[in-house]
Symmetry: C2
Subunit: 443 residues, 2 copies
């Protein structure tokens, strides 16, 4: 405020401006900038004395609609901290009953509305840590419910994105690949802006690992959730940051995907080499195949933060019990969002049915968060072991039937018709099972 | 087991050793070492096949009192992990009711028996995190109780360690200094193997910061508890490690000390420069002076660990409410353990009384655990500001009284008699109070 306003306000308020202040201000009264600067410096000193007196812990500013001076004073006092970009890695709801909620399972991180709906009956929400969720019940996710939860993407839009006609698994793989890489479909030119497991766009942090994800999806490891590792990043980090400034953010690398039963079984065999560094859950559609090396009750914290003056905040976990609830939803989304686009008994519909009944849902956690993620290595080994097993099988067949053209029997994967694959698979199944243990150890 | 034992056992058990095995073993039957090696390799392969079959999760070994072979097999399978050196940074009790306890306030870390006694009435113990302890009540620590809790150190031993005759604060400082540095007393030659706030020897981790601690104690910052910072050390670290192998250990630097009221007030003034990096509590004997920049309820985790397959474990906290209970105990120990050694009204007794009534209890947490601890800098600034304030006061006095010999009035600290100091202090008190704010800003 300039000199004239100062005099005016003092008069209005019936204030006597102390002589000492007038002595300083009067010589500079024609320089508004200098008067303002003096005012701010003087007020800052006053505030500091008041705070240091120990008599009070608070200050009350009347800004008179000019907040700049007050803000400057607060900054000089070190009392102004910018708002955190986001309070938690996921967006809290406005619902009062969820006020203290600060932990969620990672599975719904791309479907928060579904999570909120399915836990809306809870009376208490986990706070500080997830703990043991053995008593937690997740609301049922009926087909109607799933339908209701659909985003406003129309059937037409979904057909454009996910394909009007699917002839094999590889057509599905391509949709996942195009989603991760933002690639338009060769024929329709449509971009895949979402897949059934994402309510929203890809998270910014997913972009940090997009090329690794693209490579896996291209080869049929169909990722639906993931996060990169983080080792003490500042809480103001543009992609990974959350919470107040001055904190440190940590993440364990996480990867969740659908993969063929054969590959899931190979994964289960090779993964012991990576223990205890890697934790896994492998489950199928109806849950009768269900493997894990985790405790059956205890969750794993996969995102946590260390802040001044607080206990550790651990807002995201991999929870073994919640995973089973999520599994039903994840498989349901195949059929409700995608399969239902096609007529019953059509080839396209049968492709999606095939995915549901022959693909396993897998999640992987890399516990060595300060190291580069080993989950890519694990998945690559799974794919390489499959390749070498197939090669062995072909050699064996070639020996049985020396007139056969070995190379002719092995067309490139992408582009083969679904029926061809099915036929090939039927003939493979009649073989002796491959010498798995040997193949694994050969790695 | 050699070839003969194998044949013997097979006969006793009515077993048929398969031909395939005999074919391998018979040619090497005179080489016990080779037979044993084959047995271990063969059994390891069998075990691996069994485990990989997915049919079972367990193995049962009959060791027949020769555990070496079984151990070797387990190691080859990667299933053998050495016992963790300790489960938690502090020693859990054998008491069943405390089975799930895994968080404690740091204040009692050198007096675990006292903590266990004072919380023996609790029906539940904090698990996973400390949470908000506003409802927690700590059992009373009556004088009788304190007396009972005394270690078996006799009065004679304590007099040898802590001094038969104290003439000033500096004599007390020296006891702390000798304790940290393991220095024998110049006169009695006795070593200070403990001080009243330590039930046990100094922790191994204290040695990591012993020289910094020694320097502070020499200058009258009387440390009674501390820990260095740690940034993702392996859980097998010899000094800082705890919990299962494969984990990462973190600590925020912590420092707790008694210091003169004058210095405590300087500390309170300068510490705002270090916010929010440093959290503090400053309290006096009867609690009517009580300052903090922490939340009044929420604890700070100062030790935590990240392990495969688990939520974050945070076994040590600085809790604002527990600190007030600890404060009474910490001041009680001065009198009960130390002051009581001397006759009432003796100078020695008055020195200890002086410590109780004029020294404040302070704790400091450095939240920036990846950086080198800033707490040494904070304490050094406190001491330097005090020095410069004293220098200013002397200059002022010299100006008032130009005939006085300024240098003559400032004898070295150590060695001055308590009465001299008291007299000097009385004369200082009659002065104008020093221009604190200016002195602080001069830093």
């Amino acid at each position: 405020m300039g000199y004239e306003s100062l005099k005016h306000i003092a008069k209005l308020g019936g204030l006597d401006v102390p002589r000492a202040i007038l002595d300083i201000v009067e010589p500079i009264k024609d320089n508004d900038e200098a008067v303002r600067k003096f005012g701010i410096d003087f007020a800052t000193e006053q505030c500091r004395e008041i705070l240091e007196s120990g008599v009070t812990y608070g200050l009350h500013f009347y800004t008179l609609n000019r907040e700049v001076a007050s803000l400057t004073i607060l900054k000089k006092l070190g009392l102004w901290s910018p708002e955190p970009q986001k309070l938690l890695p996921w967006k809290p709801t406005a619902n009062v009953s969820r006020f203290h909620e600060d932990v969620r399972p990672i599975f719904w991180s791309s479907r928060p509305k579904s999570y909120v709906a399915r836990t809306s009956e809870w009376e208490e929400f986990p706070n500080g840590r997830w703990g043991n969720s053995s008593a937690a019940t997740f609301g049922d996710v009926s087909e109607h419910h799933l339908f209701y939860m659909r985003s406003k993407t129309s059937k037409e839009q979904r057909l454009n994105m996910w394909g009007r006609q699917l002839v094999g698994e590889e057509d599905v793989w391509k949709v996942f690949y195009n989603f991760i890489t933002d690639t338009p479909d060769e024929e329709s030119g449509a971009k895949v802006t979402r897949i059934p497991w994402n309510e929203e766009e890809l998270a910014a942090e997913t972009m940090l690992i997009a090329s690794e994800l693209a490579d896996l999806n291209r080869r049929g490891v169909l990722t639906i959730n993931s996060q990169p590792s983080a080792n003490g990043e500042p809480s103001t980090h543009p992609e990974l940051g959350w919470g107040n400034p001055g904190g440190y953010i940590y993440q364990k690398a996480y990867l969740e995907f659908f993969v063929s039963a054969e590959r899931a079984m190979i994964l289960k065999q090779i993964i012991h080499k990576y223990e205890p560094r890697v934790n896994y859950h492998i489950i199928n559609f109806n849950g009768d195949e269900d493997f894990t090396n985790c405790d059956h009750l205890e969750p794993i914290a996969v995102t946590w933060g260390v802040f001044p003056g607080k206990e550790i905040v651990q807002p995201t976990v991999v929870d073994p019990i919640a995973f089973k609830f999520w599994k039903d939803e994840a498989y349901g989304l195949w059929e409700e969002y995608w399969g239902s686009l096609y007529p019953e008994n059509s080839v396209s519909r049968r492709v999606i049915d095939h995915m549901v009944h022959n693909y396993y849902l897998v999640n992987l956690v890399d516990n060595s968060f300060p190291e580069p993620s080993i989950l890519w290595t694990v998945c690559n080994e799974m794919l390489e072991v499959e390749d070498s097993m197939k090669k062995q099988k072909r050699l064996k067949q070639a020996r049985k039937n020396p007139s056969g053209d070995e190379y002719g029997r092995w067309p490139g994967k992408v582009g083969r018709k679904f029926e061809e694959r099915e036929m090939e698979k039927a003939s493979e199944d009649s073989d002796d099972s491959p010498p798995k243990a040997v193949a694994v150890e050969g790695q």
